[in-house]
Protein backbone atom coordinates (compact mmCIF):
# COMPACT_ATOMS: atom_id res chain seq x y z
CA UNK A 1 0.00 0.00 0.00
CA UNK A 2 3.05 2.29 0.49
CA UNK A 3 3.53 2.74 -3.23
CA UNK A 4 -0.16 3.41 -3.78
CA UNK A 5 -0.21 6.05 -1.08
CA UNK A 6 2.86 7.72 -2.54
CA UNK A 7 1.34 7.76 -6.03
CA UNK A 8 -1.89 9.00 -4.53
CA UNK A 9 -0.25 11.97 -2.90
CA UNK A 10 1.62 12.75 -6.11
CA UNK A 11 -1.59 12.67 -8.10
CA UNK A 12 -3.53 14.71 -5.60
CA UNK A 13 -0.68 17.19 -5.46
CA UNK A 14 -1.10 17.58 -9.22
CA UNK A 15 -4.46 19.15 -8.43
CA UNK A 16 -6.50 16.64 -10.44
CA UNK A 17 -9.41 16.19 -8.06
CA UNK A 18 -12.01 14.25 -9.99
CA UNK A 19 -15.55 13.15 -9.21
CA UNK A 20 -16.21 9.40 -9.22
CA UNK A 21 -19.60 7.76 -9.11
CA UNK A 22 -19.27 4.27 -7.59
CA UNK A 23 -22.18 1.87 -8.04
CA UNK A 24 -23.31 -1.73 -7.93
CA UNK A 25 -25.32 -3.28 -10.77
CA UNK A 26 -29.09 -4.01 -10.48
CA UNK A 27 -29.04 -7.52 -8.99
CA UNK A 28 -25.88 -7.33 -6.87
CA UNK A 29 -26.37 -6.85 -3.10
CA UNK A 30 -22.69 -6.90 -2.14
CA UNK A 31 -21.34 -3.69 -0.68
CA UNK A 32 -17.90 -4.35 0.86
CA UNK A 33 -16.39 -4.03 -2.63
CA UNK A 34 -18.06 -0.60 -2.97
CA UNK A 35 -16.93 0.53 0.49
CA UNK A 36 -13.30 -0.41 -0.19
CA UNK A 37 -13.37 1.20 -3.66
CA UNK A 38 -14.69 4.43 -2.22
CA UNK A 39 -11.89 4.60 0.36
CA UNK A 40 -9.20 3.78 -2.21
CA UNK A 41 -10.41 6.40 -4.68
CA UNK A 42 -10.76 9.01 -1.94
CA UNK A 43 -7.22 8.22 -0.85
CA UNK A 44 -6.13 8.91 -4.44
CA UNK A 45 -7.36 12.43 -3.71
CA UNK A 46 -10.69 12.29 -5.53
CA UNK A 47 -14.33 12.78 -4.59
CA UNK A 48 -16.71 9.78 -4.50
CA UNK A 49 -20.48 9.51 -4.72
CA UNK A 50 -21.36 5.94 -3.67
CA UNK A 51 -24.79 4.70 -4.81
CA UNK A 52 -24.60 1.41 -2.88
CA UNK A 53 -26.14 -2.01 -3.61
CA UNK A 54 -28.72 -3.16 -6.19
CA UNK A 55 -28.79 0.11 -8.14
CA UNK A 56 -31.62 0.07 -10.70
CA UNK A 57 -30.68 1.33 -14.17
CA UNK A 58 -33.02 4.34 -13.91
CA UNK A 59 -31.45 5.43 -10.63
CA UNK A 60 -27.96 5.14 -12.09
CA UNK A 61 -28.94 7.26 -15.13
CA UNK A 62 -30.57 9.89 -12.92
CA UNK A 63 -27.54 10.02 -10.62
CA UNK A 64 -25.18 10.39 -13.60
CA UNK A 65 -27.27 13.27 -14.98
CA UNK A 66 -27.45 14.97 -11.60
CA UNK A 67 -23.85 14.43 -10.45
CA UNK A 68 -22.01 14.75 -13.81
CA UNK A 69 -19.14 12.53 -12.62
CA UNK A 70 -15.77 12.34 -14.37
CA UNK A 71 -15.84 8.56 -13.97
CA UNK A 72 -18.51 5.97 -13.38
CA UNK A 73 -17.02 2.91 -11.65
CA UNK A 74 -19.29 -0.16 -11.59
CA UNK A 75 -18.36 -3.04 -9.32
CA UNK A 76 -19.94 -6.49 -9.30
CA UNK A 77 -19.12 -9.77 -7.55
CA UNK A 78 -22.31 -11.87 -7.48
CA UNK A 79 -21.81 -13.75 -10.74
CA UNK A 80 -24.44 -11.91 -12.81
CA UNK A 81 -21.92 -9.20 -13.74
CA UNK A 82 -21.65 -9.99 -17.43
CA UNK A 83 -25.40 -9.83 -18.10
CA UNK A 84 -26.05 -6.95 -15.70
CA UNK A 85 -23.00 -5.08 -16.98
CA UNK A 86 -24.25 -5.35 -20.57
CA UNK A 87 -27.70 -4.10 -19.59
CA UNK A 88 -26.31 -1.11 -17.70
CA UNK A 89 -23.90 0.06 -20.41
CA UNK A 90 -26.61 -0.19 -23.09
CA UNK A 91 -28.74 2.22 -21.05
CA UNK A 92 -25.86 4.61 -20.30
CA UNK A 93 -24.72 4.74 -23.93
CA UNK A 94 -28.32 5.12 -25.10
CA UNK A 95 -28.81 8.32 -23.09
CA UNK A 96 -27.83 11.36 -25.20
CA UNK A 97 -27.51 13.50 -22.06
CA UNK A 98 -24.62 11.28 -20.95
CA UNK A 99 -22.60 11.26 -24.18
CA UNK A 100 -18.86 11.05 -23.56
CA UNK A 101 -19.18 9.78 -19.98
CA UNK A 102 -16.27 7.55 -18.97
CA UNK A 103 -17.62 4.25 -17.63
CA UNK A 104 -15.52 1.36 -16.30
CA UNK A 105 -16.53 -1.94 -14.71
CA UNK A 106 -14.62 -4.31 -12.45
CA UNK A 107 -15.14 -7.28 -10.17
CA UNK A 108 -15.78 -10.99 -10.42
CA UNK A 109 -17.88 -11.71 -13.48
CA UNK A 110 -18.64 -15.26 -12.66
CA UNK A 111 -18.28 -17.15 -15.93
CA UNK A 112 -15.67 -19.75 -16.66
CA UNK A 113 -12.51 -18.16 -18.02
CA UNK A 114 -13.41 -15.17 -15.94
CA UNK A 115 -10.50 -12.91 -16.56
CA UNK A 116 -10.00 -14.02 -20.16
CA UNK A 117 -9.78 -11.62 -23.06
CA UNK A 118 -13.19 -12.72 -24.39
CA UNK A 119 -15.16 -11.19 -21.57
CA UNK A 120 -13.11 -8.02 -21.57
CA UNK A 121 -13.49 -7.67 -25.37
CA UNK A 122 -17.23 -8.20 -25.19
CA UNK A 123 -17.78 -5.61 -22.50
CA UNK A 124 -15.46 -3.13 -24.24
CA UNK A 125 -17.36 -3.69 -27.49
CA UNK A 126 -20.59 -2.91 -25.66
CA UNK A 127 -19.24 0.48 -24.69
CA UNK A 128 -17.15 0.29 -21.52
CA UNK A 129 -13.98 2.38 -21.50
CA UNK A 130 -12.17 -0.21 -19.43
CA UNK A 131 -12.82 -3.60 -17.79
CA UNK A 132 -10.99 -4.82 -14.67
CA UNK A 133 -11.73 -8.45 -13.79
CA UNK A 134 -10.64 -9.24 -10.23
CA UNK A 135 -9.27 -12.50 -8.97
CA UNK A 136 -10.62 -13.82 -5.67
CA UNK A 137 -7.11 -13.78 -4.23
CA UNK A 138 -6.04 -10.44 -5.64
CA UNK A 139 -8.79 -7.83 -5.65
CA UNK A 140 -6.09 -5.18 -5.19
CA UNK A 141 -4.83 -5.81 -8.74
CA UNK A 142 -8.10 -4.61 -10.31
CA UNK A 143 -7.96 -1.47 -8.19
CA UNK A 144 -4.35 -0.90 -9.22
CA UNK A 145 -5.41 -1.20 -12.88
CA UNK A 146 -8.16 1.34 -12.25
CA UNK A 147 -5.63 3.72 -10.72
CA UNK A 148 -3.29 3.32 -13.68
CA UNK A 149 -6.19 3.95 -16.06
CA UNK A 150 -7.16 7.16 -14.25
CA UNK A 151 -3.53 8.35 -14.21
CA UNK A 152 -3.07 7.71 -17.93
CA UNK A 153 -6.30 9.53 -18.76
CA UNK A 154 -5.17 12.45 -16.59
CA UNK A 155 -1.80 12.49 -18.37
CA UNK A 156 -3.53 12.52 -21.77
CA UNK A 157 -5.67 15.45 -20.67
CA UNK A 158 -2.68 17.53 -19.55
Amino acid sequence: MGKLELETRKHAAGGGRLKFLVSSVPTDSHTWNLVVLQLLIEEMGHQVVNLGACVPVDLLLAACRAERPDYVVLSTVNGHGQADGARVIAALRGDPALAGLTVVIGGRFGTRGDAGPGLRRELLARGYDAVFPADVDGPARAVEQLREFVESRAAEAR
Binding site: E5, T31, L34, V36, H80
Partner: protein, 439 residues
Protein backbone atom coordinates in the same frame (compact mmCIF):
# COMPACT_ATOMS: atom_id res chain seq x y z
CA UNK B 1 -49.37 -31.58 11.75
CA UNK B 2 -49.91 -31.53 15.46
CA UNK B 3 -48.61 -28.96 17.86
CA UNK B 4 -47.82 -29.30 21.52
CA UNK B 5 -48.10 -26.51 24.05
CA UNK B 6 -46.64 -23.21 22.97
CA UNK B 7 -43.82 -24.50 20.83
CA UNK B 8 -43.59 -24.62 17.07
CA UNK B 9 -42.63 -27.94 15.55
CA UNK B 10 -39.33 -26.36 14.59
CA UNK B 11 -38.45 -25.26 18.11
CA UNK B 12 -39.79 -28.44 19.69
CA UNK B 13 -37.18 -30.36 17.72
CA UNK B 14 -34.51 -27.91 18.91
CA UNK B 15 -35.68 -28.30 22.55
CA UNK B 16 -35.56 -32.09 22.37
CA UNK B 17 -32.01 -31.97 21.07
CA UNK B 18 -31.05 -29.47 23.79
CA UNK B 19 -32.36 -31.83 26.47
CA UNK B 20 -30.20 -34.54 24.97
CA UNK B 21 -27.21 -32.18 24.99
CA UNK B 22 -26.95 -32.24 21.21
CA UNK B 23 -26.11 -29.27 19.01
CA UNK B 24 -28.63 -28.91 16.16
CA UNK B 25 -26.98 -28.37 12.78
CA UNK B 26 -28.31 -26.76 9.66
CA UNK B 27 -26.93 -26.11 6.16
CA UNK B 28 -27.55 -23.04 3.96
CA UNK B 29 -28.69 -25.13 1.06
CA UNK B 30 -30.81 -23.99 -1.87
CA UNK B 31 -31.13 -25.14 -5.49
CA UNK B 32 -33.32 -23.91 -8.34
CA UNK B 33 -34.21 -27.37 -9.59
CA UNK B 34 -36.92 -29.02 -7.42
CA UNK B 35 -35.49 -32.51 -8.00
CA UNK B 36 -32.08 -31.40 -6.81
CA UNK B 37 -33.60 -29.49 -3.88
CA UNK B 38 -35.39 -32.69 -2.84
CA UNK B 39 -32.21 -34.75 -3.19
CA UNK B 40 -30.39 -32.19 -1.04
CA UNK B 41 -32.99 -32.28 1.72
CA UNK B 42 -33.09 -36.08 1.67
CA UNK B 43 -29.30 -36.26 1.83
CA UNK B 44 -29.29 -34.06 4.95
CA UNK B 45 -32.15 -36.01 6.50
CA UNK B 46 -30.60 -39.41 5.87
CA UNK B 47 -27.12 -38.42 7.06
CA UNK B 48 -27.96 -39.64 10.58
CA UNK B 49 -27.23 -36.24 12.10
CA UNK B 50 -29.21 -33.95 14.43
CA UNK B 51 -29.97 -31.70 11.48
CA UNK B 52 -32.71 -29.39 10.25
CA UNK B 53 -33.41 -29.03 6.53
CA UNK B 54 -33.01 -25.70 4.76
CA UNK B 55 -34.64 -24.37 1.62
CA UNK B 56 -32.71 -21.21 0.68
CA UNK B 57 -34.45 -19.08 -1.92
CA UNK B 58 -32.84 -17.44 -4.96
CA UNK B 59 -32.05 -13.75 -5.38
CA UNK B 60 -34.89 -13.07 -7.87
CA UNK B 61 -37.42 -14.38 -5.36
CA UNK B 62 -35.74 -12.32 -2.62
CA UNK B 63 -36.62 -9.19 -4.62
CA UNK B 64 -40.11 -10.48 -5.46
CA UNK B 65 -39.08 -10.71 -9.13
CA UNK B 66 -41.03 -13.94 -9.52
CA UNK B 67 -41.55 -13.54 -13.28
CA UNK B 68 -37.81 -13.27 -13.77
CA UNK B 69 -37.27 -16.36 -11.62
CA UNK B 70 -39.85 -18.24 -13.70
CA UNK B 71 -38.20 -17.07 -16.94
CA UNK B 72 -34.80 -18.20 -15.70
CA UNK B 73 -36.26 -21.60 -14.78
CA UNK B 74 -37.95 -21.93 -18.17
CA UNK B 75 -34.76 -21.07 -20.05
CA UNK B 76 -32.70 -23.51 -18.02
CA UNK B 77 -30.55 -20.85 -16.32
CA UNK B 78 -29.34 -22.15 -12.97
CA UNK B 79 -30.64 -20.09 -10.05
CA UNK B 80 -28.76 -19.48 -6.82
CA UNK B 81 -31.64 -20.83 -4.72
CA UNK B 82 -35.13 -22.31 -4.77
CA UNK B 83 -37.75 -20.04 -6.46
CA UNK B 84 -40.52 -20.86 -3.98
CA UNK B 85 -43.13 -18.42 -5.34
CA UNK B 86 -42.46 -18.96 -9.06
CA UNK B 87 -42.73 -22.75 -8.84
CA UNK B 88 -46.32 -24.07 -8.81
CA UNK B 89 -47.46 -25.13 -5.33
CA UNK B 90 -48.14 -28.70 -6.40
CA UNK B 91 -44.58 -29.11 -7.58
CA UNK B 92 -43.13 -27.86 -4.31
CA UNK B 93 -45.57 -30.06 -2.38
CA UNK B 94 -44.20 -33.06 -4.31
CA UNK B 95 -40.64 -31.83 -3.69
CA UNK B 96 -41.35 -31.85 0.07
CA UNK B 97 -43.46 -35.01 0.16
CA UNK B 98 -42.09 -37.47 2.69
CA UNK B 99 -39.18 -35.15 3.44
CA UNK B 100 -40.21 -33.06 6.44
CA UNK B 101 -41.61 -34.54 9.63
CA UNK B 102 -41.36 -33.99 13.39
CA UNK B 103 -37.84 -35.47 13.30
CA UNK B 104 -36.79 -33.36 10.34
CA UNK B 105 -38.18 -29.80 10.36
CA UNK B 106 -37.52 -27.62 7.31
CA UNK B 107 -36.83 -23.88 7.43
CA UNK B 108 -37.17 -21.41 4.54
CA UNK B 109 -34.29 -18.91 4.30
CA UNK B 110 -34.82 -16.05 1.88
CA UNK B 111 -33.23 -12.60 2.36
CA UNK B 112 -36.33 -10.57 1.45
CA UNK B 113 -37.13 -7.08 2.75
CA UNK B 114 -40.79 -7.66 1.74
CA UNK B 115 -41.53 -11.33 2.51
CA UNK B 116 -45.35 -11.37 2.43
CA UNK B 117 -45.66 -13.45 -0.73
CA UNK B 118 -42.92 -15.80 0.38
CA UNK B 119 -44.61 -16.38 3.74
CA UNK B 120 -48.04 -16.86 2.13
CA UNK B 121 -46.59 -19.50 -0.19
CA UNK B 122 -44.81 -21.17 2.72
CA UNK B 123 -48.01 -21.38 4.73
CA UNK B 124 -49.93 -22.79 1.79
CA UNK B 125 -47.38 -25.62 1.78
CA UNK B 126 -47.54 -26.16 5.54
CA UNK B 127 -44.01 -24.81 6.08
CA UNK B 128 -43.92 -23.14 9.49
CA UNK B 129 -40.39 -21.81 9.98
CA UNK B 130 -38.47 -18.98 8.37
CA UNK B 131 -36.10 -16.16 9.26
CA UNK B 132 -34.99 -12.59 8.54
CA UNK B 133 -36.23 -9.33 9.97
CA UNK B 134 -37.27 -5.77 9.10
CA UNK B 135 -33.76 -4.39 9.64
CA UNK B 136 -31.52 -7.35 8.87
CA UNK B 137 -33.08 -8.03 5.45
CA UNK B 138 -33.50 -4.39 4.52
CA UNK B 139 -30.32 -2.49 5.33
CA UNK B 140 -27.66 -4.85 4.02
CA UNK B 141 -29.31 -6.20 0.87
CA UNK B 142 -31.92 -3.82 -0.48
CA UNK B 143 -32.60 -0.17 -1.28
CA UNK B 144 -36.15 -0.26 0.05
CA UNK B 145 -36.80 2.43 2.70
CA UNK B 146 -36.63 0.99 6.21
CA UNK B 147 -40.17 2.23 6.97
CA UNK B 148 -41.51 0.32 3.96
CA UNK B 149 -39.65 -2.86 4.96
CA UNK B 150 -40.81 -2.53 8.58
CA UNK B 151 -44.45 -2.17 7.50
CA UNK B 152 -44.13 -5.14 5.11
CA UNK B 153 -42.53 -7.28 7.82
CA UNK B 154 -45.24 -6.27 10.31
CA UNK B 155 -47.94 -7.54 7.92
CA UNK B 156 -45.95 -10.65 7.06
CA UNK B 157 -45.33 -11.63 10.69
CA UNK B 158 -49.01 -11.17 11.52
CA UNK B 159 -49.93 -13.58 8.72
CA UNK B 160 -47.65 -16.20 10.31
CA UNK B 161 -48.92 -15.47 13.82
CA UNK B 162 -52.58 -15.72 12.74
CA UNK B 163 -52.05 -19.38 11.85
CA UNK B 164 -52.19 -20.07 15.57
CA UNK B 165 -56.01 -20.05 15.17
CA UNK B 166 -55.67 -23.08 12.91
CA UNK B 167 -53.34 -24.89 15.27
CA UNK B 168 -50.14 -24.03 13.41
CA UNK B 169 -47.44 -22.32 15.46
CA UNK B 170 -44.87 -20.62 13.28
CA UNK B 171 -41.24 -19.89 14.11
CA UNK B 172 -39.08 -16.95 13.02
CA UNK B 173 -35.35 -16.50 13.50
CA UNK B 174 -33.96 -12.97 13.49
CA UNK B 175 -31.06 -12.48 11.08
CA UNK B 176 -30.02 -9.44 13.13
CA UNK B 177 -26.90 -11.22 14.35
CA UNK B 178 -25.30 -11.04 10.92
CA UNK B 179 -25.46 -7.46 9.54
CA UNK B 180 -23.07 -7.32 6.54
CA UNK B 181 -21.42 -10.58 7.60
CA UNK B 182 -18.37 -9.04 9.21
CA UNK B 183 -17.02 -6.00 11.02
CA UNK B 184 -20.18 -5.27 13.00
CA UNK B 185 -19.44 -4.95 16.74
CA UNK B 186 -20.94 -7.79 18.85
CA UNK B 187 -23.05 -5.52 21.06
CA UNK B 188 -24.85 -4.08 18.03
CA UNK B 189 -25.47 -7.58 16.62
CA UNK B 190 -26.88 -8.73 19.96
CA UNK B 191 -29.10 -5.63 20.29
CA UNK B 192 -30.46 -5.89 16.74
CA UNK B 193 -31.21 -9.58 17.12
CA UNK B 194 -33.13 -9.01 20.36
CA UNK B 195 -34.98 -6.01 18.89
CA UNK B 196 -36.07 -8.02 15.86
CA UNK B 197 -37.28 -10.88 18.06
CA UNK B 198 -39.25 -8.32 20.10
CA UNK B 199 -40.68 -6.99 16.83
CA UNK B 200 -41.84 -10.52 15.91
CA UNK B 201 -43.47 -10.90 19.33
CA UNK B 202 -45.09 -7.47 18.99
CA UNK B 203 -46.88 -8.84 15.92
CA UNK B 204 -48.15 -11.92 17.72
CA UNK B 205 -45.50 -14.56 17.15
CA UNK B 206 -44.85 -16.93 20.06
CA UNK B 207 -41.74 -18.80 18.90
CA UNK B 208 -38.52 -17.03 17.92
CA UNK B 209 -34.77 -17.51 17.77
CA UNK B 210 -32.07 -14.88 18.20
CA UNK B 211 -28.93 -15.08 16.09
CA UNK B 212 -25.28 -14.21 16.31
CA UNK B 213 -22.57 -14.63 13.67
CA UNK B 214 -19.06 -15.77 14.59
CA UNK B 215 -16.68 -12.81 14.39
CA UNK B 216 -12.94 -12.65 15.00
CA UNK B 217 -12.22 -13.55 18.64
CA UNK B 218 -13.64 -16.66 20.35
CA UNK B 219 -13.71 -15.17 23.87
CA UNK B 220 -15.46 -12.04 22.69
CA UNK B 221 -17.94 -14.15 20.70
CA UNK B 222 -18.66 -16.26 23.80
CA UNK B 223 -19.28 -13.09 25.79
CA UNK B 224 -21.68 -11.93 23.08
CA UNK B 225 -23.63 -15.21 23.06
CA UNK B 226 -23.94 -15.14 26.85
CA UNK B 227 -25.10 -11.52 26.65
CA UNK B 228 -27.63 -12.50 23.98
CA UNK B 229 -28.91 -15.36 26.17
CA UNK B 230 -29.28 -13.04 29.16
CA UNK B 231 -31.09 -10.33 27.19
CA UNK B 232 -33.43 -12.94 25.68
CA UNK B 233 -34.17 -14.32 29.15
CA UNK B 234 -34.94 -10.80 30.37
CA UNK B 235 -36.96 -9.62 27.36
CA UNK B 236 -38.49 -12.77 25.87
CA UNK B 237 -39.32 -14.79 28.96
CA UNK B 238 -42.96 -15.20 27.93
CA UNK B 239 -42.25 -16.70 24.51
CA UNK B 240 -40.51 -19.82 23.31
CA UNK B 241 -36.99 -18.90 22.22
CA UNK B 242 -33.53 -20.28 21.54
CA UNK B 243 -30.20 -19.07 20.16
CA UNK B 244 -28.63 -19.80 16.78
CA UNK B 245 -25.00 -19.22 15.78
CA UNK B 246 -23.81 -18.70 12.21
CA UNK B 247 -20.35 -19.89 11.22
CA UNK B 248 -18.36 -16.86 9.98
CA UNK B 249 -20.34 -14.92 7.37
CA UNK B 250 -17.55 -12.67 6.10
CA UNK B 251 -14.79 -13.32 3.57
CA UNK B 252 -14.22 -17.05 4.07
CA UNK B 253 -10.83 -18.82 3.91
CA UNK B 254 -9.96 -19.95 0.40
CA UNK B 255 -8.27 -23.20 1.49
CA UNK B 256 -10.11 -26.32 2.63
CA UNK B 257 -7.96 -26.51 5.73
CA UNK B 258 -8.62 -22.88 6.63
CA UNK B 259 -12.35 -23.34 6.14
CA UNK B 260 -12.39 -26.41 8.37
CA UNK B 261 -10.57 -24.56 11.17
CA UNK B 262 -13.10 -21.72 11.11
CA UNK B 263 -16.05 -24.14 11.06
CA UNK B 264 -14.60 -26.16 13.96
CA UNK B 265 -14.03 -22.95 15.94
CA UNK B 266 -17.69 -22.03 15.48
CA UNK B 267 -18.81 -25.48 16.68
CA UNK B 268 -16.71 -25.20 19.85
CA UNK B 269 -18.09 -21.70 20.39
CA UNK B 270 -21.66 -22.99 20.13
CA UNK B 271 -21.03 -25.89 22.54
CA UNK B 272 -19.11 -23.72 25.02
CA UNK B 273 -21.98 -21.23 25.26
CA UNK B 274 -24.84 -23.74 25.21
CA UNK B 275 -26.11 -22.33 21.92
CA UNK B 276 -28.82 -24.65 20.62
CA UNK B 277 -28.42 -24.42 16.83
CA UNK B 278 -25.57 -23.80 14.37
CA UNK B 279 -25.80 -22.90 10.69
CA UNK B 280 -22.65 -24.17 9.04
CA UNK B 281 -20.49 -23.09 6.12
CA UNK B 282 -18.71 -25.40 3.71
CA UNK B 283 -15.10 -25.31 2.59
CA UNK B 284 -16.31 -24.37 -0.92
CA UNK B 285 -17.91 -21.19 0.39
CA UNK B 286 -15.23 -18.77 -0.82
CA UNK B 287 -15.57 -19.95 -4.40
CA UNK B 288 -19.10 -20.92 -5.30
CA UNK B 289 -22.39 -22.35 -4.11
CA UNK B 290 -21.60 -25.66 -2.40
CA UNK B 291 -22.83 -29.01 -3.69
CA UNK B 292 -25.09 -31.36 -1.73
CA UNK B 293 -22.12 -33.55 -0.81
CA UNK B 294 -20.13 -30.56 0.44
CA UNK B 295 -23.06 -29.48 2.60
CA UNK B 296 -23.37 -32.93 4.15
CA UNK B 297 -19.60 -33.10 4.66
CA UNK B 298 -19.68 -29.80 6.57
CA UNK B 299 -22.56 -31.06 8.75
CA UNK B 300 -20.67 -34.28 9.54
CA UNK B 301 -17.50 -32.40 10.42
CA UNK B 302 -19.48 -30.07 12.67
CA UNK B 303 -21.25 -32.96 14.41
CA UNK B 304 -18.00 -34.82 15.01
CA UNK B 305 -16.42 -31.66 16.37
CA UNK B 306 -19.42 -31.00 18.66
CA UNK B 307 -19.28 -34.55 20.10
CA UNK B 308 -15.63 -34.14 21.11
CA UNK B 309 -15.78 -30.47 22.15
CA UNK B 310 -15.40 -29.51 25.81
CA UNK B 311 -18.85 -29.01 27.33
CA UNK B 312 -20.68 -25.79 28.14
CA UNK B 313 -19.08 -23.25 30.46
CA UNK B 314 -21.10 -21.13 32.86
CA UNK B 315 -21.71 -17.55 31.78
CA UNK B 316 -19.45 -15.01 33.49
CA UNK B 317 -20.85 -13.48 36.66
CA UNK B 318 -21.67 -9.78 36.50
CA UNK B 319 -22.17 -7.44 33.57
CA UNK B 320 -19.87 -7.72 30.57
CA UNK B 321 -19.24 -4.75 28.27
CA UNK B 322 -21.10 -6.50 25.42
CA UNK B 323 -24.14 -6.95 27.66
CA UNK B 324 -24.11 -3.38 28.95
CA UNK B 325 -23.75 -1.90 25.46
CA UNK B 326 -26.46 -4.11 23.98
CA UNK B 327 -28.77 -3.37 26.94
CA UNK B 328 -28.22 0.39 26.47
CA UNK B 329 -29.03 0.15 22.74
CA UNK B 330 -32.18 -1.93 23.28
CA UNK B 331 -33.44 0.42 26.01
CA UNK B 332 -32.73 3.56 23.97
CA UNK B 333 -34.65 2.21 20.97
CA UNK B 334 -37.63 1.06 23.03
CA UNK B 335 -37.89 4.52 24.61
CA UNK B 336 -38.41 6.13 21.21
CA UNK B 337 -41.97 4.97 20.54
CA UNK B 338 -44.67 2.70 21.94
CA UNK B 339 -44.01 0.07 19.25
CA UNK B 340 -40.85 -1.24 17.60
CA UNK B 341 -42.57 -0.86 14.22
CA UNK B 342 -42.29 2.89 14.82
CA UNK B 343 -39.13 2.87 16.92
CA UNK B 344 -36.79 0.92 14.61
CA UNK B 345 -36.87 3.34 11.62
CA UNK B 346 -36.74 6.30 14.02
CA UNK B 347 -33.68 4.84 15.75
CA UNK B 348 -31.76 4.60 12.48
CA UNK B 349 -32.91 8.08 11.44
CA UNK B 350 -31.48 9.51 14.66
CA UNK B 351 -28.35 7.38 14.62
CA UNK B 352 -29.23 5.52 17.85
CA UNK B 353 -28.71 2.45 15.71
CA UNK B 354 -26.00 2.75 13.06
CA UNK B 355 -24.41 -0.19 11.22
CA UNK B 356 -20.75 0.50 10.38
CA UNK B 357 -20.07 0.67 6.62
CA UNK B 358 -23.70 -0.05 5.67
CA UNK B 359 -24.48 2.03 2.55
CA UNK B 360 -28.29 1.85 2.76
CA UNK B 361 -29.71 5.40 2.48
CA UNK B 362 -31.53 5.03 5.84
CA UNK B 363 -28.34 4.14 7.74
CA UNK B 364 -26.30 7.12 9.01
CA UNK B 365 -23.03 5.26 8.41
CA UNK B 366 -21.13 7.36 10.96
CA UNK B 367 -20.15 4.44 13.21
CA UNK B 368 -16.92 2.55 12.55
CA UNK B 369 -15.17 -0.47 14.01
CA UNK B 370 -11.80 -2.17 13.66
CA UNK B 371 -10.08 -5.38 14.78
CA UNK B 372 -7.64 -4.79 17.64
CA UNK B 373 -4.29 -6.62 18.07
CA UNK B 374 -6.04 -9.40 20.07
CA UNK B 375 -8.44 -10.03 17.21
CA UNK B 376 -11.34 -8.42 19.07
CA UNK B 377 -13.84 -6.33 17.16
CA UNK B 378 -13.86 -2.90 18.79
CA UNK B 379 -15.63 0.38 18.15
CA UNK B 380 -13.50 2.96 16.38
CA UNK B 381 -16.26 5.56 16.38
CA UNK B 382 -19.71 5.12 17.91
CA UNK B 383 -21.26 8.03 15.98
CA UNK B 384 -24.54 8.98 17.63
CA UNK B 385 -25.11 5.61 19.30
CA UNK B 386 -26.36 6.11 22.87
CA UNK B 387 -23.15 4.74 24.40
CA UNK B 388 -21.46 6.95 27.01
CA UNK B 389 -17.66 6.94 27.23
CA UNK B 390 -17.84 4.74 30.33
CA UNK B 391 -19.64 2.12 28.20
CA UNK B 392 -17.14 2.29 25.34
CA UNK B 393 -18.61 5.21 23.39
CA UNK B 394 -16.03 7.22 21.43
CA UNK B 395 -15.73 9.80 18.64
CA UNK B 396 -12.69 10.25 16.43
CA UNK B 397 -11.56 12.72 13.84
CA UNK B 398 -9.22 10.40 11.94
CA UNK B 399 -10.93 7.80 9.79
CA UNK B 400 -10.23 4.16 9.05
CA UNK B 401 -8.19 3.99 5.83
CA UNK B 402 -8.53 1.54 2.95
CA UNK B 403 -5.44 -0.45 3.93
CA UNK B 404 -6.71 -1.01 7.48
CA UNK B 405 -10.20 -1.87 6.25
CA UNK B 406 -8.87 -4.36 3.68
CA UNK B 407 -6.67 -5.96 6.34
CA UNK B 408 -9.64 -6.27 8.72
CA UNK B 409 -11.94 -7.64 6.00
CA UNK B 410 -9.40 -10.37 5.17
CA UNK B 411 -8.57 -11.14 8.83
CA UNK B 412 -9.50 -14.85 8.83
CA UNK B 413 -8.22 -15.46 5.32
CA UNK B 414 -4.80 -14.03 6.16
CA UNK B 415 -4.76 -15.85 9.49
CA UNK B 416 -5.93 -19.27 8.32
CA UNK B 417 -4.98 -19.61 4.66
CA UNK B 418 -1.36 -18.71 5.31
CA UNK B 419 -0.80 -20.94 8.32
CA UNK B 420 -2.53 -23.91 6.74
CA UNK B 421 -1.24 -23.53 3.20
CA UNK B 422 0.85 -26.69 3.39
CA UNK B 423 -2.05 -28.69 4.82
CA UNK B 424 -3.91 -29.01 1.55
CA UNK B 425 -4.57 -27.58 -1.87
CA UNK B 426 -6.83 -24.67 -2.58
CA UNK B 427 -10.37 -25.75 -3.04
CA UNK B 428 -11.02 -26.63 -6.64
CA UNK B 429 -14.02 -24.80 -7.94
CA UNK B 430 -15.23 -22.67 -10.77
CA UNK B 431 -16.47 -19.22 -9.95
CA UNK B 432 -19.64 -19.41 -11.93
CA UNK B 433 -21.86 -18.19 -9.12
CA UNK B 434 -19.48 -15.83 -7.43
CA UNK B 435 -19.86 -15.36 -3.72
CA UNK B 436 -23.43 -15.56 -2.63
CA UNK B 437 -24.98 -13.04 -0.32
CA UNK B 438 -25.04 -14.73 3.06
CA UNK B 439 -28.43 -15.46 4.53
Amino acid sequence: MTTHGSQSQFSRFVSEQRRAGTLVLQPRMGFGDPARMRRGLLAVRSAGLPAIGTVTLDSYTRHNAHDEAAAALASGVELNGYPLVAIPLGRTARMLEGVRCAEFPVQVRHGSAQPEQIFATMLALGLDASEGGPVSYCLPYSRIPLRVATAAWARAVRVLADRRDRGMLCHLESFGGCMLGQLCPPSLLVALSVLECLFFVEHGLGSVSASYAQQTNADQDAEALWALRRLCAEELSTVDHHLVLYTYMGLYPATRAGGRVLLSDSVRLAVRTGTERLIVKTTAEAHRIPTIAENVEALRLAHECARTAPGPEPAPAGDTEVYLQARALVDAVRCLAPTLTEALPLAFERGLLDVPYCLHPDNRNDARCVIDPDGRLVWWDTGRLPLPTALGGRRRTERVGAARLLADLTHHRRRLDHTTVSAGPRHAGNERHGQRVPH
